[in-house]
Symmetry: C5
């Protein structure tokens, strides 16, 4: 519900389909492109960021080419890449549309565009300033020998750990094709979801503790609402991944090798675990709310009891005092010697009687 | 829940099926028909609005014919068009039934009527007067070389942007058939949904701000209810589009070309995004309501605390004053020199004690 | 939840399956049967109501035979008809069981009974006395050349409009077979649902207006509950029609001609529209309830504020008056000349101060 | 939630699968077995209850054998029967497990056990002592020429009406095989559900009347909760029957004859009707609860109004009386002749003014 | 929501897929492995716990090999076992991931790893210290002649009853293969669920009793919330078993023999029964909550009534006393002889009148 989203929605009306328009936050860095080539024996990084280098290697040893594009706000850059890899205009539109929800698309009509698989999902961060989950738009284009990854230029390159693993040794990633690389990057993003989930879990724990120990004030309720909102939004980002991963496994595409399937299945397991935990959290919130509301109601009850006890004790006493404050000429009690003390005694008796009564009622 | 809908319902009983009855708002303009013919090289608009011109071109260069009918309240006009294009009576009934919910129908029995695809959906506007989503009934009839579009004569021609694009240059629309034109018009309508969605999102933001900052009064609740109603109604108009677009893609109809499929898929994505956002909004409303109700309850609590504090302080004090206002002859304290000041002192002590006690209870 | 339903449930236990028992309201009219025969050229009504006339025409010109049976409370009449048309005993049981929910049954085992389609649905009226939807049990038996229609003898013949159309001219009904007649009658019943829906919509409008304008009292809540109940019950009667109509279209039965399919699809559209509207209504009710409850809670708040303001102003004032009503001998203020006016002044100041304070709090 | 269920759960842990353990209520009667043989012409009952008689007839005229076993608490008896009819150990376990929920099992592996169909469901009674639905575990084993029925020995033989029909005449049951007998017995049980449903409906009617007429106290809420619980539990027993009956119809088993299918379909209709009514009831309960809670809240409002009116009238009056009870020497009003009556007059004016004000507010 | 889970989530980010990391509670015992070999005639246990013994028997009589691994916190041990049985790295990761939710995986690509079935589920205990369900991670690897079982080293060996049955006699387990052993162990775990379910049921009974008898305080609400949480978490552990068991039955795997299918079906029945009971419990909780809240509200009502009755009685009386406490010179009533007694009489009449009025209102 940020200004950003609103802007994005509005600028779309009336433009021709396939028009490249960036709808995310304004950014003043230039797009940065990293070109990584590797196979089991070689490894080569071109960090110059030149667009012209972003071509498929023609001939030579079979390498996996990974173009890591950092920044999707420059339409010409995206368009050039699209041209060099022969990508469908709608695919490019999706790359730049930061509001696109997670999905997978199979482009298999060779006459129109290269046969590639397009995957988009959200990288989630906990933005400590906004107290809110912050979603970064990430896209992947998987081809037979290449993988393009696009991310918003916002929080540094999130794919560094995988890059390190490739550089470090001739491990599993180096031995496998671009589909395994895609899996590794998706796995990295999903792993990060657990961190966000942890953060939510810890906050829920804190709120729960406050509520159960009756320390909760109204700001606790606002936190509970904010948590529910966070869970709702995160679920919206994560749950489509289940169908996406199923589609990737099921699809009879040559781009996904058979031995990558168990890894995708494993990833789907993780996603299920996250969605499941989110659902558990979501189901618990109404219960917490009920406990909180009952606390409020109990406090009100305590206030009312105090009022009732005070009134019930002092109204009758004041009335008795009022009687003997009357100025009638003929009030026999007034002229006895012990009248005053009798009056005090009766008042004391009423006082004690009321106290005993309310004790029995457990009101005090 | 307007008078308009009610009227429509009632006039239907007992009429023969297929009878053309307009059930929308009363309109006094005449129907206006625009005839556009184009192919990659030519472009021709006939704005005369003559019904007789509304025929398929016989022979000549293969053109796409687009008849844009503005106004569906005149049964004879619709009937004539139906006759000229050999459309099924039930199709014509649906064109005029402004209450028809979004759907797609495949008419493929060549013996009864032309094989066409009938698509109907709602154009949504935010009516600033009624503070309500206003739905305009739009229908499309897709034939092999023609597209008929029907809209209510209410808010000007909503298809102008596409018309401009066709006129402007020999772009994608000019190179493609009527199925792509249908997609373009549907895309235009869906793009507009985002504007309405934005409006809802902004209003929800405003309500949320008011509630979280405890500024909300009862009118905020009415706004929340109105928002929920708007979301419910908009969801009802938008969500059938998902199945419709799936049906259009899946259907083995020669009327929808293969290369239009990715565009329809893209449109389905947008629709999904809208429904998703609506669902998120809808899920957030109960949480907001709880925060609001808790605010009300907290205010009540504050009122009660004030009352209780005032009563608890002054009832005992008044009682003490009452005691020494009694007229007993024998009240020794009354005749001491410092009695009055002792009494005042005790009252002051009780006053301070009560204040301290309620401070500890955090009631003041 | 009427007595009627209860009786019906109980009398069923222990009877042999297929036993004909009428379970509806008690009726003292005799069953009335109308025999209509027609084809494109001829038309013939036998209004004598003789049971013996209720046979299939043997030979002669091919006619559609429609037997319209008004009253299903006489087991022998139903049994005789069942015998003459060779109907399955369970079908006859369903005809008489006014509690049967809407369904379609395909009897296709030629050895046991005639191959017919059995359709049952509810005719709905708004009973102005009971403020409740009243459901009348209607059954149809569709054979190759005949249609039997059964209705409860309660509110006059509901099929009159169709009968009039048949009599009036050689229209669509006259040109088609008994399946189109079945469609026409079902369409008539569904059209009537819109009237009931309208009535519900109007009542909901009224309740909404009262609640939003804060005019609602407790009887409004009862109306809201009654509306919810009506919607729940109506939905229960209407929603099975969707599956029924789908089954009728899908079924490869020779009894339903191909060109009747679009009409059934159209009818299914109407049913969908009704269920959809009912669902929208149903979703809105909880929101209205929340607004109503918040009104109640606001009123309580107003009451509490009045009480608190009155108490906070007069308790301190009375206390001050009480002090100077004490009878101590030594109270210097009492004997000054302006003491009384000072006291009045202090009271006035407190009064004004309190008023200002509560104004700031927006309590008054 | 009875002690009984708990016991059953616990004793199961660690026992070998297929061990016969009775888990229901303790019973001290012996098992009673009735052997009924019949065909269209003959009918024979052996009421001796000898286990040795419980064999299949070898040769002779083709009869249907029905063994009606009353009491399932004696493991040896069940084991012997299982041996004589070659039943699977898991089937016997299910026969004795009174906690087993309704289901149908098809045992068709001829090498392991006889090919039979196992059906289990619940017989429901309204236990007037416990104000709760009481469920009796009933099992059926359908073989090619025999039917075994097992019931708990608790409330007398519930199958008497069917037995009477068989004895009485050579009706439909006598002409058909054991599958029709199975249907008849299931139909009997389902018919009984209507009685229980009626009881629930009547109680709901009573609660509704009390609530709508504002007569409801807290015990009404307990009744509402008990009703909801009853409905929840009954639904749990009845709803699996729908799938069971579908499975019986669909299954290509020679044990169910074709002409029994319509009867099973009819039975499924009845079950649907019951589940439907239960769902309607269940949906109405929250609405009733809201009306009830609003009544409570209205009563609170009435109480608060009384308090506020009383305080607002008498606090100012008492204050005025307090003023003229002060003992200042110089209070001019006190010494006028009409001062007292003026004071009374002002008090009266305030009293009347307050009354008028609160009338306008509609508080009194 | 324990510290444990959080840790587990965080340590996963950035590690290479297939890395073995133990994420459960810290444990200082060594892993203990028991090797059991048996067939119908022989039985042999090797309790030495040597890893080297954990190989498949080469040749000799065909035995079932069961390795019962107690403790999954030592990555090298799990890795060695994985190597000896040629298990997939992802399978080993799942064995050690105590956060893995229940699932079944079919590893059937013989080139990559042994074709085995991997099953993981949760063993549930009631931890009396934490008042919470405690879940232990259990895994099974089913091969053609072997079964590996992994459990956390926490609460002693939970499989002892099955081990005893195998040792005791040449029963059903000894006669069957490792698939039946797998079933027996799963059955043992599911049996244990009933114990936990019982515990929940008993606690729910206790809470229900307290609430219905109006003895419930705020701690009852906390218990209700804790119960709901327990039910939510238990459901999350148990409900995936249904799909798992279906998958095991359906799968055309040679590892599961045909005659084990009925046993798996029976197990699925038990799981259904548990999930069903959990659902019933879950549905009942909101109703209980409503009854509880209504109790709170009724108590508040009682408090308010007391206050109102006291105020309504004593405010008018005090006012009357106040009138005659005024010091006007000219107050005729004061000087009559019976004035005081008249005043007392009027006060008494008002007192009695109020009492009668509130009795009628049923407030006292």
């Amino acid at each position: 519900m940020s200004r950003r989203r609103n802007k994005s929605f509005k600028t779309q009306v009336g433009t021709s389909p396939g028009t490249l328009t960036y709808v995310g936050q304004e950014i003043d860095h230039a797009t940065h492109i990293q070109r990584i080539e590797y196979n089991e024996t070689d490894y080569n990084v071109d960090d110059s960021g030149k667009l012209s280098a972003c071509k498929l290697p023609n001939g030579g040893a079979p390498h996996v080419l990974w173009l890591d594009v950092d920044g999707i706000h420059e339409a010409p850059v995206v368009a050039t890449l699209g041209h060099q890899f022969r990508l469908h205009p709608l695919l490019l539109e999706d790359v730049m549309n930061t509001e696109q929800k997670p999905k997978v698309d199979f482009y298999d009509d060779d006459r129109v565009s290269s046969p590639v698989i397009y995957v988009t999902m959200k990288m989630l961060h906990h933005d400590p300033r906004q107290h809110e989950v912050d979603a970064e738009h990430v896209s992947f284009v998987l081809g037979p020998t290449f993988l393009l990854s696009f991310q918003e230029e916002r929080t540094g390159d999130i794919f560094t750990p995988v890059l390190e693993r490739i550089r470090a040794s001739a491990g599993k990633t180096r031995r496998n094709g671009p589909d395994y690389l895609l899996y590794s990057l998706m796995d990295l993003i999903v792993d990060n979801y657990f961190v966000v989930l942890d953060n939510i879990g810890e906050k829920l724990d804190a709120v729960e503790d406050r509520i159960v120990q009756e320390l909760a004030g109204r700001e606790t309720l606002s936190m509970l609402y904010a948590l529910k909102r966070e869970i709702t939004i995160m679920r919206r980002y994560v749950s489509p991944l289940r169908d996406m991963l199923n589609a990737l496994q099921r699809e009879e595409s040559a781009l996904i090798k058979d031995h990558t399937d168990p890894f995708l299945r494993d990833l789907a397991d993780h996603v299920n675990q996250i969605v499941d935990t989110l659902d558990t959290y979501r189901e618990l919130i109404p219960g917490l709310l009920d406990v909180y509301l009952s606390t409020t109601s109990n406090r009100m009850n305590a206030v009312m009891k105090t009022l009732t006890v005070m009134s019930s004790i002092f109204l009758p006493l004041t009335f008795i005092a009022g009687i003997y404050g009357m100025n009638f000429d003929n009030m026999p009690e007034l002229h006895t010697r012990t009248g005053y003390f009798w009056a005090l005694g009766v008042m004391g008796a009423i006082f004690v009687g009321m106290i005993v009564y309310f004790r029995k009622q457990k009101w005090i």
